[in-house]
Symmetry: C2
């Protein structure tokens, strides 16, 4: 991940291409790892990408297309002749190949499949939506009939070439192709060659269904530390395997989405620097506008108290402070609960426990802050009554903010909405408006008394 | 991850233990997977944990201690006699064993090591800080001299039992024990038994140094899709291997920390439901108090404009709206940039590009919002001049918020501070105070004109 090297290579490749030295450019790119090659490629002009890719070895071109962002890869692939593209796609991992072909124009995708040497690896994968276990799995895995003997399995591995099989696990199936178990290659090597797989396999294998959501599968793999998870169809037949590199990608994307949603922006579909300006603005506009208009409601709350405010302008001074405290306390709670739900630390049946924890936390927080706020506001130069208004409002607002902040994600999860999606904006609106009501009512009570 | 089953088992185990039926309780727990067993265990009373653990098979007790949260595991282990504990720790993965022993009282840790059958696997791992590659790696990996032949390696694997080796990769070393390369077991099986490893190994192996930060290693593994990464010392000698389950844990913890920090709370060290109330309140107090006191400064800004405010109380009505818009736009930018930095989509040299992107996004956002805000505020019932003040302030505040929101994480990263740690609170303070100045100055200019 030495980004300097990527930048230097990019600069040199551009220079070489300006002088039509394609061979030199390819030589430089070859010196990098695939993820870095893809980074360099993505930063080249489309014409340069189209000039370079067909000149590279198909397996290296395949690595680059696999590592490029989906959109950039399909943009590039659509500019290449189907016969040429077929050579490259044949060298890709079947799951990556299916992702790419699924993103292409159907006519081009069909033409490419027709020109491929091994389309049968990829074709079934095209049937599954991207965000499911079926969309994540590869059709290139090792599975053997459970009645096979250890020695026969070793002989089969010797005869049938497997490309970069990272995991030491092999799966076993029964006569109907249903998943039966898993064996570790190290154990197969060590056991008596006459031992059938059925006698040595682990039968309690965790598995995913083709239509399972990819996040559910990722959680399963991370919770139980699985390096690979077999995928079965409705009849329990083994149809694919999800490997750990896919898991990491899903977990990373999921966390990124949650972070962006908690901060009130729809998830970007591309890496930050590749997203268009209008698309970025658009993704952020929704929440900003929603809050803008709900803030007009908050404004209506304020305008009802214009009399109080014009007789005590000092109340305005503490408005940002109290709104801010409510918003911050609410965000802390919402983000903490959303993440706890996402990583599985909290389940829906923990609802009452979470609420009870947040209420107690809010009381500790509110009272401590009020104890510090009272002298601070006094020293700042107001009357003791005004300091009391601020201190009491702080307690009320923090308790309210933590209640709303914990309830919203839990309710969202209960009714099946992504908690990160709705909690932050709704929380902010509810906390602002009600917080002001708490403040003004305490003020009216104490200042008029 | 069927949480219902965990809950039901927990309830039944408690019932059985109340009737002193330890064997029955163990039988029920055995039916679960280790991660689920640990969940049940963590929810039992300490006396119940201490009664159960020594009665279980050492390898099952080891699985449970591995899967329990670090603090809960060390609390439980400290209550067990060192001779008993040694049996269990002998069955743990060396890296997990080292983590546990490192968390214990040194006297107990020494006594346990002294009673262990294989302390030499664990002892060297105790030297490395938890958050480094050395703290993450295991000493249980397969490495062979590069001059060994494929057939000899297979014979060695047959003779020397390896426990649950998930990865198909073996590492090779030279005569000085320095990392030479990596080979895939499938290739070793398939090649001529007389072929030396040095003739078939991949020499360009990505590796980590023992003292590398664990996040750097996790990023390396996720970027290049590595299932296992070898760890070398200062002399390039192979000393351990980091496996993918550790990677997933680091990535998850890192994302959780970032989410909590972005929302202004110090990261919780335990899972949500295990954290104490005062510890939770304490972790959130810091930011709340900081913002509370900086909001007093914002209040000072307001009190300077008391004249303007008392002559135009309507200005107060739009205060929460404009402060909110600034805060929201700033949070969106900060969170997006922090995450882009964390996953490597943005590097420090992208500084100018990021700023330029955010400025353009801010102009698109600000102008669009102002165009909608002007009629909305007018319809809400104010003068055209007041609506103009709100619209112009919106543009100014959004541009300011996006600039601050993108600059702060980049500057923090540049000077080597975690961007998630400082950006959110500082952003909020700067945006609030300056945002009000923008608002009041535009108001003073237009309303007095």
């Amino acid at each position: 991940m030495d980004l300097d090297i990527i930048d230097r290579t990019l600069w040199q490749v551009r220079e070489l291409l300006t002088n039509d030295n394609v061979a030199g450019a390819i030589y430089l790119i070859k010196g990098l790892l695939p993820a870095d090659q893809a980074d360099v490629f993505e930063d080249l002009a489309p014409e340069q990408q189209q000039a370079l890719l067909p000149e590279m070895d198909p397996d290296e071109a395949a690595d680059i297309l696999e590592e490029m962002e989906d959109e950039a890869a399909s943009d590039l692939a659509s500019q290449i002749a189907p016969e040429m593209l077929a050579y490259i796609v044949d060298e890709m991992e079947p799951d990556e190949a299916a992702d790419l072909l699924g993103d292409l124009d159907p006519a081009l995708s069909q033409a490419t499949l027709a020109a491929m040497a091994e389309p049968e690896d990829v074709r079934p994968l095209l049937l599954h939506p991207d965000e499911t276990a079926g969309g994540l799995m590869t059709s290139e895995y090792l599975a053997y009939p459970q009645q096979m003997r250890a020695g026969q399995v070793l002989a089969a591995i010797r005869q049938w070439p497997v490309r970069g099989h990272d995991s030491a696990y092999l799966f076993t199936v029964d006569r109907e192709g249903r998943l039966a178990g898993a064996v570790n290659l190290f154990d197969v090597l060590r056991t008596d060659p006459q031992m059938p797989l059925s006698a040595m396999m682990d039968r309690d294998v965790l598995k995913a269904r083709v239509d399972d959501d990819q996040e559910v599968v990722a959680r399963l793999m991370s919770r139980y530390g699985l390096a690979a998870v077999p995928v079965v169809d409705a009849d329990d037949r083994l149809v694919g395997v999800i490997t750990v590199d896919d898991l990491v990608e899903v977990l990373e994307d999921e966390a990124t989405e949650d972070i962006q949603r908690i901060a009130g922006t729809s998830p970007l579909e591309q890496p930050y620097l590749d997203a268009g300006i209008t698309s970025m603005a658009w993704k952020r506009m929704g929440w900003l506008l929603f809050l803008f208009f709900t803030a007009l409601l908050t404004g209506s709350v304020i305008s009802r108290y214009e009399g109080l405010l014009s007789s005590h302008v000092i109340l305005t001074v503490f408005l940002p402070l109290l709104i801010g405290t409510g918003g911050n306390a609410g965000s802390q709670t919402t983000a903490t609960v959303i993440r706890a739900l996402a990583v599985g630390d909290v389940a829906l049946y923990d609802f009452p426990r979470v609420l009870w924890r947040e209420m107690r936390t809010a009381i500790v927080l509110g009272v401590s802050m009020a104890a510090l706020a009272f002298p601070a506001v006094l020293l700042w130069g107001t009357s003791p009554i005004m300091a009391g208004v601020v201190a009491l409002s702080t307690i009320g607002i923090v308790i309210w903010a933590n209640s709303v902040g914990s309830l919203l994600p839990l309710v969202a999860a209960k009714v099946g909405i992504d908690p990160a999606l709705v909690s932050a904006p709704l929380m902010s609106t509810l906390v602002d408006a009600v917080g002001l009501l708490i403040y003004f009512n305490i003020a009216a009570l104490l200042l008029r008394a």
